[in-house]
Structure formats: C-alpha cells, structure tokens
C-alpha cells in the first residue's frame, strides 16, 4: 500500500501533455526537476487538486483523492508566492491551518509551532512586517499545523538567497518527519541537498523517482541537456 500513487496519470491541455505512473512512500523526500515549461508545477497542482487529470488516478494509501476539493486532500501545498493573506496577522494565517473559520483554534498550539520555526513572539505581526525568510517560515509553520501526510513545495523558497534557502530546506527536512515531501526545483544543488530521490520531468513524462545521487552521476540525455556543462 504505497503512500502516494499516480496511476496512469495523464494531464493534457491544448498542445501540452504530461504522463506519470509511479509511487512514493511516506517519509520520502523527492525532488521534481526538469526544464521550465516541462510541467513540474502542473504535476504538483494536479496532485493538489487545482487541475483535473485527463486520465488516470491520484491515490493516497490506496484511496482515490482526485475527486476531493484541494483543501480536503491529505496534503498541504506551499506556492511560489502568495502563501499568506496580507490582511491577517501571522497567528491568524497559521490558525487557518487548524480551522479555516478561525473559531476553534488552539492559539497555544499556534504559538508553539511559531517557536519551532523560530518566529516566537511574531504572531501579532502582519506578513508585510516580516522578511522574506520569515514569511517562508510562517507558511511552513502552517503546513506543520495542518499535519497532512503529504507536503508539496512548488518552489516556495525560490526568492530566497542560497544560504537562507539551504537553511529552509534543512528546516523542512527536520520538521516534516514521516510526511512525504515533493519539492519542485530547477536547482540541482537543492535536489542533492534535500532529496534522497528525484523525479525528472521532461519530454512529456514525469519519470518514476530514482535515487538522486545515482541520477546525477549518470544523467539521462534529457537531464544532461537541461544541466548543460556547468551545473556540477
């Protein structure tokens, strides 16, 4: 009984097509890499429920989840941007992860999570009063609060500098625990730092995950073309 299973999944839009047929286990750390426009984000957004699959199924622990609305799937997603509502405080933004109506929120749990991501005492601020790195931490903190077994990262740290990004990846790894993490990236260094396995998205196919080290040691032609000569 696999954690995430993409069963003969196909996403077809106009002249774009992407196929995937593989599984990934709970606790895994999987990078999704490939040239821009190949469909990395499309794959994540289909799993998250923002795009309907044209064929096939998305399953979690053997049960289909592709008919559920995004918020009711067993997953959390962090987008490239707009992960926080600017008019709500950080604490309220986190509280949405416990109860979207903000009526039954355990605010001590919110404060405890803020402390774990290094934002203790900042709950009353609004997102604009935080730095980019702090905003990323807040969004990650909300994903932790939601306690979903699958975490999708659609390049949420792309705007951060290299040191800050590495720090965030380590934080995700430490905090995600038994959850399966799928992370879109265009940076091979991110994949090698964070992910034991990597999915290559190229030429209309999201290939099954393979060990990251092995993949980069002997890249298939599509990956070699994407990496060029300079990536290592």
């Amino acid at each position: 009984m696999a954690g995430l299973r993409l069963d003969h999944l196909a996403i077809v839009q106009d002249d774009f097509a992407l196929r995937a047929d593989w599984s990934a286990e709970p606790g895994g750390r999987v990078a999704v890499i490939g040239p821009s426009g190949a469909g990395k984000s499309t794959l994540l957004h289909t799993i998250a429920g923002f795009l309907p699959p044209s064929e096939g199924a998305v399953l979690w622990q053997g049960a289909r989840i592709d008919a559920l609305p995004p918020g009711q799937r067993p997953l959390s997603i962090l987008f490239q941007d707009q992960n926080l509502f600017p008019h709500l405080t950080i604490a309220q933004n986190l509280g949405l992860g416990l109860d979207p109506a903000l009526r039954r929120v355990d605010w001590r749990a919110v404060e405890a999570v803020l402390e774990r991501v290094g934002l203790s005492g900042l709950g009353a601020r609004r997102p604009a009063q935080l730095s980019g790195g702090q905003q990323s931490r807040a969004a990650l903190a909300r994903a932790l609060l939601r306690q979903r077994p699958l975490l999708l990262l659609d390049e949420p740290f792309a705007a951060l500098g290299p040191a800050l990004k590495a720090e965030m990846l380590d934080l995700v790894d430490a905090l995600a625990g038994d959850a399966l993490v799928l992370m879109v990236t265009h940076d091979p260094a991110d994949a090698r730092r964070f992910a034991r396995d990597t999915v290559l998205v190229a030429e209309g196919v999201a290939a099954p995950p393979v060990p990251t080290a092995a993949l980069f040691a002997d890249p298939p032609p599509a990956l070699a073309a994407y990496l060029g000569g300079a990536a290592f």
Binding site: Q82, N83, F85, P86, H87, L96, G97, P100, A101, L102
Partner: protein, 508 residues
C-alpha cells in the same frame, strides 16, 4: 468560493428583470402603434442623440483643458465632476429652472439687453438638463483617454518639435476616434431612459419620451395595454443601444488618475486663454444651478412642510435596503465571474437593457389584480432601484474580485477556506474599499431616484424626490428648493458613510 451564490443571484436577477418584460409582452399583444406612440419614440431618440452630441461635444474641450493644464483646484474640479452622477436628478432640474427659467438670471439678463427670452421647457430644456447631468461623466471618460496617451509618445512628440496642431493630428485625434463612440453611446443610453428630467421639463405632444408616455398611460389614462406596448418599444430601443454599446465597449471606470509622469504639452498664447475660458465657463455652468438651489433652499428650510420628513425617512429606508441588496447581488455575481462562470457577466448587465418604468409597468401588471399598487410602492421601489443600480456596483466590484481570486483563490482552496468563513476572513477585508464605495454609490442613487415610485405612490409611500416634484408641481419653489437641500444632504451623506466605511479597513 461563490460559484453557487453567483448562479443563484443570476437566476434571481434574470427573473426579476425578464418576468416583468414577459408580462408586458403578453399584455401588449394585438395592439398596433398609434401616432402618439411613434411621436414618443421619435422624440426619445431625437433628444437622446442631441443630448449625447452636445454632452460629448462640450466635454472634448473641457477634458482637453483639464488634461493639459495644471492649476490650483484642478484636482478638486476633477473630483467635483464625479458629483453630478450622485446628484439627485430632481435637484439638478430645480437648479436649472432657477438659472434658465422664466425668472432666472439668464432670462433676466436677456430681458435687460432687450433680447428674446429662452424657454427651458421642451426639447431645448431636456437637452440642456441632460448636458448638465452627463457632460461631467463624458469629460471623465475623455480625460482618461487623454491620460492614457503613453508618456513615450509625448516625449517623442516633444523631441520632434510637434506644434499643438500636430499633437492634435497625431496623438489626440486618433485617441478621440477610439474613445468618442463609447462616450457617445454611454450618454445616449442614459438619456433614452431619462424620466425625471422629461417629467418636469418635457411633456405635451411635442416633448414626451417613451418613458414618460408609459407613466402617463398608467397614471392618467389607466390604459394598461398602451403602457405595455410602449414598454416593449422601450425594451427594444434600450436593448439596441446596449447591444451597440457592447460592440464598442470600453470600461468607463470611475477613478481617473490626476497626474502622470510626463505632462501633455501646454501650449502658451491664445490657446492658454481658450482653455482658461473653457474651464471657467464649464465651472460656471455646473456650479450656478447648485448655488441657485442653495440660495433658494436655505430660507426654504425654515418653512418646510411637515410631510417632507416622512418622505425623507422613506427615501433613507429605500436607500438602506436597496444598496445592500444591489451590492450583495453584484458581489455574488462578480465573485462567480472571477471564478470562471462567464455567463454571469451578461446577466449582471441585463438591467441596463431595461428601464425603471418598464420594470415598474411589469410589476404593476403583476400586482394590480391582487393588491392596491400604492401599498407596494416602497417594496417595489427598493427592488427596482436595487436592480437598476446593480450593474454599476458590478462594474466597481468586478476588477477587485478578479484580482482577489487570481491572488488568493488557490490559497483559499488549499486551506479549505469556503462559504461564510471565506466571506468574513477574505472577501470582506480584501474588498472593503470597493464594497464601501459601491454601497455609498447605490445608496445615493436609490435615495435620489425618481422613477418607479411615481408609478405606484399615491398619498402613502412617497419618497423625498417625489415629494419635491409635487411641491414643484404646486409652484411652491422655495419649499421645493429647501427639500432639495435635504435630499442632497441625504444622498451625499449616505455616499460619504459608505465610502468612509470602505476606507476604514486596515490595508496591508
């Protein structure tokens, strides 16, 4: 977030706008058009065409002067140009009567000079009032056109040493060719359904519009089949105008920017004098009637008949019920449209193709067999004014709703933020500003409106604009002016409250 609410609202709106028309169509069956019907149609089209040409014709030099001159009070003048949209029509007519009427300043001056007097009644007066009411709107539309000329083009024109004549030929004329048709059609469509202006300044066989003829058919002749036939005629005319406007559509927008990085060249010499004269004349033309109402109304305030206060309360009640109804409906439609339900937009614009008196006639025909129409006066007024102001609210909310869904729709879905919680935590805080503006606008329009209520009300259910028109009909002009001041205070006060609430939100 609101697909279902949007769909339900659209169905309700379609029912409320189309059912009366359907009833009217059934009742109208089998009766041909008479000579007076044709005369009404001819006059309606004639006055609307002349009003559109005159309003936009006057707006061109005014917008140009505003676009290329910088002077103290320019910002205030541009803001003031938005005010006639909120000004109750009856007040504008009262002011124009005070200036251009038999006893007004203009005719007194003409008499003094031994020249023939002008009459404000009939075609000329109707067009004059429509220019007063619509020239500001047209000016703001054209001003946006001028301000949309890219700064790069202006820099290029300056570096090539364009004279004002060449700026006109290469920049301004092409811009006007794109903007003028939309402005003309907007004013034309508004004037087609004008009621209060024609009620007071028109009338008689030579100056009756379809809208007025419907009112007469119901109130005086009690000829319901004739009212129904006229209503069908009005629907066809309005539908044609809206369809035409759709072909050259250009969102008018309400917020014109005041300044740009690269100002238009401001030619010196006689052109400077010309612009100054245009600005002075326009300011005088727009301000004089209002000052006249003020001057006449202040003493009148002391001698107001007691019946004014229940009427003012009725108007306030209508506004406070109609505005949330219109804005709530518009919000549901705008959010649904923003989430991809495309057909909601044409439904939101549906009321533009109808008119107050058409809807009123339909509702009258529906209600008449069962209840005394006078008892329905206020509920029907609330419903019809809400429906008629909904397209304005929709236009204000649609861009903000679009941006909201584009920016936060995915995040809300990812967090399962839906329904009432989404309304409370996301929509209301993020859209508070346009919501407040739309509420204020709809409330002011509803309070100042004189339309369908004239069809239903007798002694009971009288609103303030109707009470003023009755005072005018009884030639109690000082009292009418005093009541007009109360109405202006009510309309602008309601607008201020709504807009103020909208600006009170914490912006992040």
């Amino acid at each position: 977030m609101a697909r279902r609410a949007g769909t339900l609202t659209a169905l309700a709106l379609a029912f409320v706008t189309l059912a009366p028309v359907a009833v009217v169509m059934v009742q109208a069956g089998g009766r041909g058009l008479t000579a007076p019907d044709w005369a009404a149609l001819r006059f309606t089209l004639l006055q609307a065409v002349l009003s559109a040409l005159a309003s936009v014709g006057c707006a061109v030099p005014l917008a140009r002067a505003l676009a290329r001159r910088r002077f103290a009070g320019r910002g205030a003048l541009i803001t003031a140009l938005g005010a006639p949209f909120l000004l109750p029509v009856i007040v504008a007519v009262l002011g124009l009567l005070a200036v251009f009427g038999r006893a007004g300043v203009v005719n007194a001056t003409l008499r003094g000079l031994g020249l023939p007097e002008v009459s404000i009644f009939g075609l000329g007066g109707v067009v004059l009032a429509h220019v007063f009411l619509n020239m500001p709107l047209a000016t703001r539309m054209l001003l946006q056109g001028w301000q949309a000329i890219p700064a790069e083009r202006l820099r290029l024109a300056e570096s090539l040493g364009f004279t004002p004549r060449e700026v006109w030929r290469h920049l301004e004329r092409p811009m006007l060719r794109a903007v003028l048709p939309g402005a003309l059609l907007a004013v034309f469509a508004i004037c087609l359904t004008s009621f209060a202006v024609v009620l007071i300044l028109g009338g008689g066989p030579a100056a009756t519009t379809v809208e007025l003829a419907i009112w007469q058919a119901i109130r005086f002749e009690f000829d319901l089949p004739r009212a129904a036939t006229l209503a069908v005629m009005q629907v066809l005319a309005c539908g044609g105008a809206v369809g035409l406007a759709g072909l050259v559509a250009r969102a008018p927008g309400f917020g014109a920017g005041l300044d740009r990085l690269h100002p238009l060249p401001a030619p010196p010499g006689w052109r400077r004098g010309l612009d100054a004269a245009v600005l002075a004349l326009a300011t005088l033309f727009l301000a004089a009637p209002l000052l006249a109402v003020l001057q006449r109304g202040l003493p009148g305030l002391l001698s107001l008949p007691a019946s004014i206060w229940p009427a003012a309360a009725a108007s306030a009640l209508v506004a406070c019920l109609a505005a949330p109804l219109a804005v709530g409906g518009a919000l549901a439609l705008a959010l649904g449209r923003a989430q991809g339900v495309r057909w909601l937009e044409p439904v939101a614009m549906l009321p533009m193709a109808g008119s107050q008196l058409v809807l009123g006639t339909g509702l009258f025909l529906i209600a008449f067999p069962f209840v005394t129409p006078a008892r329905l006066s206020l509920p029907v007024t609330v419903l019809v004014t809400a429906v008629m102001s909904l397209p304005f609210a929709y236009r204000i909310l649609a861009p903000a709703a679009q941006a909201l869904v584009a920016d936060y729709g995915r995040l809300a879905a990812a967090l399962d933020l839906r329904g009432g919680a989404a309304l409370r935590l996301l929509v209301l805080p993020r859209l508070r500003r346009p919501l407040g503006f739309a509420l204020g606008l709809c409330a002011a329009l509803a309070a100042g409106d004189l339309g369908v209520v004239a069809l239903f009300a007798t002694e009971t259910g009288v609103t303030l604009p109707l009470a003023i028109s009755r005072l005018m009909g009884a030639y109690r002009m000082d009292q009418a002016a005093g009541a007009a001041l109360v109405l202006v205070a009510l309309a602008f006060g309601l607008f201020w409250i709504g807009d103020r609430w909208g600006r009170g939100g914490t912006e992040a």
